[in-house]
Symmetry: C2
């Protein structure tokens, strides 16, 4: 079974990063719908390290403002919701629940000597889940404006202090103003990005 052409357009071909937003809120029900789709995406040993903080109030977004690149401030502050997509470095503590058939899975990443491997696993899988988030937001009818240009350490101190969570990237969501979308940038041809052996 294949996705129909309208679905491919919605999720891939017509999906565009947004720079401006219509004044139309995003509901908590929509945020939950996004999570209820993205959560099914595959992660290593089902480790599911992504943690998402949705900023929907003016006060919450003001706490984010000082960490933003100046070029990103307007489009972030005007979005109805901004998702701080992070990953939990201590994801392994949940593995006894998330990977219940193998109770030794925690030991694959727990412990000081495995911290580097655990961090790479958290980052890789949390980032994959961040990409699932973008696709899921499109699937529930929302537009996205993902951004990596911000001060991660400042965001971590402001929002994730005292936890094992580290910020990864931001994704503004809402109903995009198509008049503010930039012209589409070129992509690499298959022959430059891919090979077949």
């Amino acid at each position: 079974m294949e996705l129909d052409s309208a679905g491919k357009d919605l999720l891939f071909r017509n999906a565009r990063s947004q720079n401006g937003w219509h004044d139309k809120p995003v509901s908590e029900a929509q945020l939950r719908q996004i999570y209820d789709l993205m959560k099914w995406g595959p992660t290593s040993a089902n480790c599911s390290p992504a943690r998402i903080l949705f900023l929907i109030t003016r006060a919450a977004k003001e706490r984010l403002r000082p960490a933003l690149l100046s070029a990103n401030i307007d489009k972030t502050m005007s979005a109805p919701a901004v998702a701080l997509i992070g990953y939990d470095l201590k994801f392994y503590d949940l593995l006894p629940r998330l990977f219940p058939h193998n109770q030794s899975a925690r030991s694959w990443w727990a412990g000081e000597e495995k911290a580097e491997t655990a961090a790479a696993t958290a980052f890789r899988n949390g980032t994959r889940q961040g990409a699932y988030f973008i696709r899921a937001a499109r699937a529930v009818g929302l537009d996205c404006g993902p951004m990596s240009g911000f001060d991660n350490a400042r965001v971590d101190a402001e929002f994730f202090s005292g936890t094992g969570v580290r910020s990864n990237f931001l994704c503004a969501i809402g109903h995009g103003d198509s008049a503010k979308v930039f012209g589409r940038l070129p992509r690499l041809p298959f022959e430059e990005a891919c090979g077949i052996l």
Copy 2:
């Protein structure tokens, strides 16, 4: 516009990691279809660092075998195609073409003193593209078996020697044998993975 329920099932709710494969080949046309969808996914400054090597011949897959965890050998070697999903640490050399309206973009990541930032950008965005790959493969009607459990250094030496490309994760693709799919593992409830401020 929202993705219909069948599309949500296909891409998210019914998508399952595969452990066995039907003896039905994957065509080069399908590999190109995957890339032609995934390439549209957003990356920082359109940097598009993912590089994908599709292993479709027995000889190519045999070169991969020594790098695999023993638990992953059968399901990898029996897959009609295995995608080595990597990222190019020197992605910035293509930015004059990929981000043509700002010819200084290359300087944001080029240079020895920026190597760590460049590596994080390559890994983050290449991983996001790897997740777009998984969704795109589903969209063109293929099943996936993503795996991170392998010897990355060995894969890099075997397949990416002399380049700036580093392996990230593997994804077997084909037509999955549903009899070999494991029971679905639990996911975190919204309240544990997400917060709203």
